[in-house]
Amino acid sequence: MRLTPDAWIFWQYGFIKLNATILFTWALMAVLVLGAALITRRLATGHERSRWQNLLEIVVTAIMGQIKDVGLQNPRRYLSFLGTLFLFVAAAALATVIPGFEPPTASLSTTVALALCVLVAVPLFGISSQGLLAYLKSYMQPTPIMLPFNLISEVSRTLALAVRLFGNMMSGAMIIAILLSITPFVFPIVMTLLGLLTGMVQAYIFTILAAVYIAAATRTSPPLTKPEA
């Protein structure tokens, strides 16, 4: 039994390898991009529009609404990054219903890569919003003593992001695989449904946490007020 799709290698040349994680990621990317391209090829700007366009508009506006609810005032700026995070993780979870498909998010390499993206994106958005000095100064809030703790927090939350998603997705896939070998009827279907729910929740959690981190990094610190004597 494979613990991760990374171990399912189709082709390898030195350290370069083509494993199931990368392959299924490409497949997901192809489905997402081709589907989006096909639907958005003929977008109607009037009142009459196709159901697929309605679906995409609902998804996009829902993601923007969630981003705004988190506290990011210009959701369009963060939509590409956060929306893609959600859609990729959600699509990977949904695709688990396809027999033989192993979600790329069940690979710790993928979740680490996504967490690293968040780790890089948070300071980038923070610096572009507040400026470099102000952002760096935020690590020394409320006192410079907190700098190491803030740095540890930064790394640990990234690690938590990666491990949380990996653990949930991997465990779901593993449970289904184990149940299929023990009780091949009915029960795996229930667990698959549960896995779908878990996957969607994880996609939501991953995206919202990333949004919260970005919101914390982009929020300009309020001016310090001296207590009145």
Binding site: I16, T21, I22, L32, V33, T40, Q53, T84, L87, T110
Partner: protein, 257 residues
């Protein structure tokens, strides 16, 4: 080891590419479509608002025109009513005047008819009285009316007062051959009566009077002597006038009864 760093790098790259592709093929087109629709809706709303404002404006103008039309109609109706009233008054006045004129004409015609009838009655009565008198005189006294009329005329001439005679005398002196004294009678005077009258006149005025005899039936059995506008006459018209008055009184009394 659960982490394969090549896979991590590949997934990192894959994710960055996916972000770009999704932005290119999903977010931008969808957001642009939404923005275009919102813009179109905003334009439609603005257009609807403009149309509504224009409609309100048109309605206001229409109401003003309607009010002006109502006022104009009321004014025209009032003018027409006034004109009709004035025309009615004028027509009534004209009708009244026409009625008055017709009434006056009818009254005049009636009066004329009455006068003509009266004159006719008088003339007829005169003729009848004249005829009766002539027959009565002839049957009872064996004298003619003409002869008796001459006699009465001569008596009246002789019995005339001094003033009348003086006036006639003065008038006779003013006569000449071109304007002689005139004696008119209702009947042709026989020569004997002409001679008698000529003689009586000559005696009365003491001069030979150039006299012209003329027959005038309207004198009603009378004889009239005139010179330069002065007259001396006798006829049965006086009797007839009394008869007419008596008849009028009789008809009035009958009508009152």
């Amino acid at each position: 080891m659960l982490i394969d760093w090549f896979t991590v790098g590949a997934q990192l790259l894959n994710f960055i590419i996916l972000v770009w592709l999704m932005k290119r093929f999903l977010y931008q087109p969808v957001l642009n479509a939404i923005a275009a629709r919102e813009q179109k809706i905003a334009a439609q709303l603005a257009d609807a608002a403009a149309t509504k404002a224009e409609a309100h404006k048109q309605q206001h103008v229409f109401e003003q025109k309607n009010q002006a039309f109502d006022e104009q109609r009321a004014e025209l109706l009032r003018q027409a009513t006034d004109a009709a009233t004035a025309e009615g008054k004028r027509l009534r006045l004209e009708a009244r005047q026409a009625a008055d004129t017709a009434s006056a004409a009818r009254a005049k015609a009636l009066l004329t008819d009455t006068q003509q009838l009266h004159a006719e009655i008088v003339r007829h009565t005169q003729q009848q009285v004249f005829d009766i008198s002539r027959r009565v005189l002839r049957d009872l006294a064996d004298v003619s009316l003409e002869q008796q009329a001459c006699t009465v005329f001569i008596q009246r001439l002789r019995a005339a007062d001094a003033t009348t005679l003086a006036a006639l005398n003065t008038a006779l002196k003013a006569t000449d051959e071109s304007a002689t004294a005139l004696l008119r009678s209702a009947f042709d005077l026989p020569v004997a009566q002409q001679v008698a009258i000529q003689s009586a006149l000559d005696d009365t005025f003491g001069q030979a009077i150039a006299l012209t005899f003329e027959t005038a039936p309207e004198l009603v059995g009378g004889i009239e002597f005139s010179a330069q506008g002065q007259k001396l006459a006798w006829s049965i018209a006086g009797y007839l006038s009394e008869l007419s008055s008596a008849l009028d009184e009789s008809s009035t009394a009958t009508g009152a009864a």
